[in-house]
Symmetry: C2
Subunit: 337 residues, 2 copies
DNA sequence: TTGAAAGCGCTAACAC
DNA sequence: GTGTTAGCGCTTTCAA
């Protein structure tokens, strides 16, 4: 069924080379034979074998993308944006999922590299020096996004810490006396939690700063950190109302925040009225939930664009400096603080 | 950096063939040389070139997936499930997005085929005989899901029409006298809307059946069909309250339903109390929205599993009969009817 | 038990 | 303008 260039050549009574010239429009070639070949090629539905081409050119015009999953606005928009940017440059995208499994992530990367993708965009759950060496051993341009792996690995991200600090300041300025900080388990975990660690640090810095500036008679802000384990919703909610202090909750992800809001609503407690709450990322779903959640907007499209731009610079050997891009992000107001 | 089998052979002082035998563990080979080779291979981080292998074997152990987008539970869970099933069989998955663009869909398919994926799972926006021929001309096993293309193309789906009929019966039994049916534009559209058409037909059949069985004094059910165009929310809402009849809304997608609920809430109208509404698919987001939306649950994982199973049957040449798999799906109760 | 040779379908370098 | 030759890295066939 599939026609090869060789067969085409036979049909047209010319050499393989001439066919090649006609198809790739390179070199000197007789206009008539060229047209004949192109016509024939169309007739038989000739399509070049990209494996063969990739093998000889050492370039496949594919970039690989390895991400956690895909079920949220963040990755979805990221992937769309990466796709667009890649296509603009004549590249296609091969998306694979690692589902938060460190070994799977490695496998996917190796497989992509073995297939000679020209570059990779990676949102990793691995980290550290050892992994850095692994990535470098792949000998393929890689740009990481979100979680940082180690110094020296190209990296695109947002100003996590700064954003968390600013959000915390907003909470404090609104007069909350206690803050419950909810994030995934950061200790005793093997997976990369860089993003959430940064957010925690920003939070802690802002609180420390605030306490330092207090008047004599004012008391320090009360803080509690809760791991998003089994039962985190219940324990967070207890913290939220077993106190006389005005209490707010800072979640390092919008989904955690929504879970809490939902549970609290079941108890008759309304966000913004009975307690404060803020999320992180600004996922689409927020448009459908009342009251409107305060959050920190994560500019995914920009992250994607920058990642692709950086990747192409690496692929073209134009890399210079430390190849880190950190984007700004802003608080998106809501009704829950 | 990257070592080839040839170089390995030189290092070990054997022929390329012996290396190959050691690596693939085939044929007779001296145990000692084999161990030496494997050891060396590990040291240099030898990895087979999958392009070269694919070229000669005519098999890549990749399956391609082409879907609309990725930003909802449906596709997300679909992709995870496809990934799992494929991995169980030693295959990897290459996911690409067509973003509801018919030309892009074709491009992605061609590209995948040119890269010799061994099979494809496709959720299409194209349809008809011409497209069927296109798909067949690709000469690669393809399984379609969701939208049907044409007879003769392997197809996995749910019982759209039956589910819509049953849902309509539920609405009618609850005493609603008017139903507003909301779906994407089905006429004058080039893209494949099979799924939504089926749902519409199921709805219409149920209404017709109901009207046929009415007593003398009872009046027929009133129905309105609204295209999900610009402004569909407003027009739907007008239909919902510019009448004295008890009115319900049947949306062929949960998202449409949520849009309407949100707008109505802005007008002080609560679903389940002031009007009825039901969606379709059972997306995750529903867990976070109050009141709980009535919907029809779409069993994605099963669809994915069946699609992969069917695809592997096709790839192994075990295809028999018409290769259509239709799964059951059920109404998921909520508070909005 | 090992090796040599041919070929997958394509591109690149050089000759005619 | 066109054809020949060689080679990408691997697998397969056949001979030693």
């Amino acid at each position: 069924m599939a026609v090869t260039a060789k067969e085409l050549a036979q049909m047209c009574g010319v050499s393989r080379m001439t066919v090649h010239r006609a198809l790739t429009d390179t070199g000197r070639i007789n206009q008539q034979t060229k047209e004949l070949i192109l016509k024939k090629a169309k007739e038989c539905g000739y399509r070049p074998d990209l494996l063969a081409r990739g093998l000889v050119k050492g370039q496949t015009f594919y970039i690989g993308v390895v991400v956690l999953d895909v079920n949220n606005r963040y990755f979805s928009q990221l992937l769309s944006a990466i796709g667009m940017e890649a296509r603009r440059r004549g590249y296609f995208v091969n998306i694979t999922l690692h589902e938060e499994n460190k070994e799977m992530e490695k496998e996917q990367l190796e497989r992509l590299v073995d297939y000679h993708v020209d570059g990779v965009i990676l949102s990793s759950v691995n980290q550290g020096e050892e992994y850095r060496e692994f990535l470098q051993s792949l000998d393929t341009p890689i740009v990481t996004i979100g979680n940082k792996i180690a110094d020296g690995i190209p990296f695109v991200s947002i100003q996590e810490k700064k954003a968390a600090r600013e959000a915390t300041e907003v909470i404090l300025q609104k007069g909350y006396e206690k803050i419950v900080f909810v994030c995934p388990p950061l200790e005793q975990t093997e997976t990369n939690t860089y993003v959430h660690q940064q957010r925690l640090e920003g939070f802690q810095e802002a609180v420390a700063e605030w306490n330092r500036k207090l008047d004599q008679e004012q008391s320090e802000v009360d803080t509690v950190i809760i791991d998003r384990n089994e039962g985190f919703v219940e324990s967070t909610c207890e913290e939220l109302y077993q106190t006389e202090k005005r209490t707010a909750c800072f979640c390092t992800g919008d989904m955690f925040a929504l879970d809490i809001m939902k549970y609290m609503e079941g108890q008759g407690r309304i966000a913004g009225r009975d307690y404060g709450i803020i999320g992180f990322d600004g996922i689409d779903m927020l448009n459908y939930v009342a009251p409107r959640l305060y959050t920190i907007y994560n500019p995914v499209e920009e992250v994607a664009k920058e990642a692709v731009k950086l990747l192409f610079r690496l692929m073209n050997g134009e890399a210079e400096g430390d190849n880190t891009v950190i984007l700004n992000c802003q608080i998106q107001e809501g009704e829950t603080l």
